[in-house]
């Protein structure tokens, strides 16, 4: 099966700090792939380099067979990669509908069409009733939903989700997982960073683990929690599976 | 060859004068992300202050510490009553707010001090020093040395004192600095005051060779903006390097083009650097 996204030897240096130092990962078309790793492993930096928010220092990022490393941020979005941010970045002074319409305008020149598409996306993510609220007036869970909606409105082939579950209550997490399944059912491929492996286990076909800026594991989620290297990277010493999967203390 | 050497030395000395004006600007930007568009008017005020002292018998060199202290206090007051409020608003507000201050101070100077050009009577250091074929005015030389001393002391202050460290921490990461217990308002106020004090010193030294009038600060400030952009916003060493470059560009530009076009190469350099290396020559991103 061909990869939609193929990352090889991705490296990023900030001054003398090596944030990434050899990340390899593949995302199969139509799949949900998890990207995990301990705090400071470089997950968000890897996302930023794939999405074009940062220029990688070395390595290649191939999307649908085309090299996109170093392409301008807004062009990557036009090529079909949508993203959300770990710390939500809403358009504070726009209403929910306006923010999602802004995303929809990427593929629709007419405002009327973009608004119609945005309405449809808002119904899809369950924010339709709050469409006239200002972005800054939403709860954290709704802000995250809004970011997903804004990204979906650009009709991405690949959706990068950065810790969309973090800070949510268990009930909200359940709703988010359900939304993820429906996004996959739409035919959108998903690569998601998640700190809590528990969330990923049941939904991710494939998991990539990075630590200290390097890929150290690539395989099934069940395989990852049994892998000695992964366990060591997470905790420095072998521990019970439950503790890896649970919330960080 | 002699002309070239004369221009080279002249350009470097002019550059040092620009550095004198620019270091305060870059310090303020580095700490609180504010480009003070009224920077030139602070300079104009300190030039008038130096003039006033000279008229009662305290020459520009002797008066320098007094003007610097006065400007330090003025800077702190301006920060407390004005800049602090701008920082709470949208980012555009700091830009047009400090521009409003520029308009206000220029107008106030025009209304109270007239538009006439005024110079220090019988200024010291009017002689010329000859180094081989190169002629140097003593005043410019003293201004250049003053610029070096000022830049070096500001650099040492930021690098080696507790307050300086707090300023660097703020420049680095505001949120982290606040969490570490740094009093942002106090450090910002101090930085703004010190930036103004640098301008006070600069204004005193400039009165050795320049006249003062209500818009006297504007050309220096415009050059200082370019200098700071060239060197990298927030970088003190960068301001020095940028200033030397701008001094050379202006002096050679004025000689090889027409004198009234001397700023053309400076502005072209600004646009080119911003286009190709927006973080400036010595700046970090």
């Amino acid at each position: 099966m061909s990869s939609l996204l193929e990352v090889r030897g991705l490296a990023k240096r900030f001054g003398s700090v090596r944030a990434l130092d050899g990340v390899d990962l593949d995302v199969a078309e139509g799949s949900l792939t998890g990207l995990i790793g301990p705090n400071g492993a470089g997950k968000s930096t890897a996302f930023a380099c794939i999405a074009g928010a940062e220029k990688p220092s070395a390595g290649s990022v191939r999307f649908r067979g085309r090299e996109i490393a170093g392409t301008a941020y807004h062009r990557v979005a036009a090529l079909g990669i949508g993203r959300t941010y770990q710390l939500v970045q809403t358009f504070a002074d726009m209403t929910v509908l306006e923010a999602v319409t802004t995303g929809a305008l990427l593929r629709r020149a007419r405002l009327r069409d973009a608004i119609a598409h945005a309405q449809e996306i808002l119904a899809f993510v369950g924010l339709a009733e709050k469409r006239y609220r200002l972005g800054r007036a939403l709860t954290v869970a709704d802000k995250k939903r809004l970011e997903v909606a804004r990204a979906l409105a650009t009709e991405p082939t690949l959706l990068l989700l950065d810790e969309v579950m973090a800070g949510l209550t268990p009930a909200e997490c359940g709703a988010a997982v359900e939304l993820l399944r429906r996004i996959l059912a739409r035919g959108v491929t998903v690569l998601m960073v998640e700190h809590v492996m528990e969330v990923l286990m049941p939904i991710a076909e494939h998991v990539v683990v990075i630590a200290a800026g390097k890929t150290i594991f690539s395989g099934t989620a069940a395989g990852a929690v049994r892998d000695a290297g992964v366990i060591e990277a997470y905790l420095g010493s072998p521990l019970e599976h439950g503790e890896i999967a649970g919330h960080a203390p | 060859m002699d002309t070239f050497a004369q221009l080279l030395v002249g350009g470097l000395l002019t550059g040092l004068v620009f550095a004198l004006v620019a270091v305060g600007l870059t310090l303020v930007y580095g700490v609180m992300d504010v480009v003070n568009f009224a920077h030139g008017e602070f300079l104009m005020l300190s030039m008038y202050a130096a003039l006033g002292l000279a008229l009662i018998g305290i020459g520009p060199l002797l008066g320098l510490p007094l003007v610097a202290i006065a400007l330090f206090l003025f800077g702190i007051v301006v920060y407390r009553v004005f800049i602090r409020r701008l920082l709470a608003g949208p980012s555009e507000a700091t830009v047009f707010g400090t521009f409003g201050l520029l308009v206000l101070l220029q107008g106030a100077a025009q209304a109270t001090l007239t538009s006439d050009f005024q110079s220090v009577p019988n200024p010291p250091l009017q002689g010329t020093i000859h180094l081989g074929p190169i002629a140097l005015s003593q005043a410019t030389l003293v201004e250049g040395i003053g610029a070096l001393v000022l830049t070096a002391s500001l650099f040492a202050f930021v690098e080696y004192t507790e307050t300086g460290r707090a300023m660097r921490a703020l420049a680095e990461d505001r949120v982290a600095a606040t969490l570490m217990g740094i009093d942002v308002q106090r450090v910002n106020g101090l930085a703004f005051g010190i930036g103004a004090a640098c301008v006070g010193a600069a204004g005193s030294l400039l009165m050795l060779s320049y006249p003062v009038y209500p818009t006297a600060g504007a050309p220096f400030a415009l050059t200082a903006f370019v200098v700071v952009a060239l060197g990298g916003f927030g970088s003190i060493q960068g301001a020095l390097v940028g200033a030397l470059l701008v001094g050379l560009l202006e002096v050679f530009g004025g000689f090889y083009l027409a004198p009234e076009l001397k700023m053309v190469p400076v502005y072209v350099a600004y646009l080119a650097v911003v286009l190709l290396r927006p973080q400036g020559l010595l700046g970090r991103r």
């Binding site: 608004i115 | 949208p90 409003g100 107008g107 209304a111 415009l222």
Partner: protein, 331 residues
């Protein structure tokens, strides 16, 4: 959300303006109306780049100057002043491109500094170039009629200014309902998030800036035809740029009616200052304008109209907290 109230308001202003143009004989009143409309156009021009796009311009006079000089050059070379409208617009857009291309993808102050620098260069250039009249400027030869764009009475000028104002307001209403308008708002709110949905910051802002420059240039053409005399201090100087920025800031950056409100305040203020202190040039006008800009920046950064809009939104917002209570008005 809907444009209708704005269109009604604009229609009312046009009717009032036409009544003044054809009904009023008093030259002083007509001059006031003309000036008001011209400043409202300049304020809206500034508002496109500095309000909607959020990049503060301190050199806006040069775009106004492009139109004024284009007009003077056309007329003194025996060409129709109508040609000055496209010619001035081209020159202004070219200057906007030079200033904006290196700086509009970066933090705001890079652009603001560039506007000061380019404005200083343009003014020096005009002051020293013989074919631009050097410091003396131009006196336009007197003519009459629509072909020469000159009239013995002030009425037709008011009609022209009214037409320009209406066109600029309509363009701004359209901007607020266009892809570009949405993109500019998104960029102002969060430029990184805007890029993540495919928005090209530099491209969007350059388009806004080019239109902004074009509007100011059109106002410049009309001004030159009206006063029949232009020189650097009356068209290119920093003082003119300060007036334009003042109008934009006072009315409210990024609002449709802000520039018109700002122009009204400015005209009244300028008259009052002239009465009290006997004209500009002594610095009192600058003290007052500077103090107003400072006060607005520190206390009400979104100006008169911004404050009103905010108050309305707050009242609506408190109602809209309940589910589905917001006005069901799709754009």
């Amino acid at each position: 959300m809907t444009a209708r109230p704005h269109l009604y308001a604009l229609g009312a202003i046009v009717v009032l303006g036409l009544l003044a143009a054809f009904g009023v004989r008093d030259a002083v009143v007509l001059d006031l109306v003309f000036t008001l409309l011209l400043y409202a156009v300049l304020g809206q021009s500034w508002n496109w780049i500095s309000g909607y796009a959020g990049n503060i311009s301190f050199g806006h006079a040069i775009f106004f100057g492009c139109g004024a000089y284009a007009s003077a050059l056309c007329v003194t070379h025996g060409l129709t002043p109508w040609l000055a409208i496209p010619a001035g617009a081209l020159a202004a857009a070219a200057l906007a491109l030079v200033t904006g291309f290196p700086t509009l993808g970066l933090r705001g102050h890079y652009f603001s500094i560039a506007t000061i620098a380019v404005a200083a260069l343009v003014e020096t250039f005009a002051r020293t170039t013989p074919w631009l009249g050097k410091a003396n400027g131009f006196e336009l030869p007197i003519a009459s009629g629509w072909a020469a764009l000159q009239f013995p009475q002030k009425g037709p000028y008011v009609v022209l200014a009214l037409a320009l104002f209406a066109a600029v307001q309509l363009a701004t209403i359209a901007l607020e309902r266009s892809r570009l308008g949405y993109y500019l708002r998104a960029l102002r709110a969060n430029h990184a998030a805007a890029a993540s949905v495919g928005i090209d910051e530099r491209r969007c802002k350059l388009i806004a800036f080019a239109w902004s420059a074009t509007m100011a240039s059109a106002a410049g053409v009309l001004y030159a035809q009206y006063t029949l005399f232009i020189d650097p201090p009356s068209t290119l100087a920093l003082a003119i740029s300060i007036d334009i920025a003042l109008i934009g800031v006072v009315g409210g950056i990024g609002t449709l009616w802000g520039p018109a409100a700002g122009a009204l305040v400015y005209v009244v203020l300028a008259k009052a200052v002239a009465l009290r202190f006997g004209g500009a040039g002594k610095g009192y006008d600058l003290v007052i304008y500077g103090a107003i800009i400072c006060l607005i920046a520190a206390l009400r950064p979104y100006g008169i109209v911004g404050t009103i809009v905010d108050a309305i939104r707050r009242r609506r917002g408190s109602i809209a907290v309940g589910p589905g209570a917001a006005a069901e008005t799709p754009a």
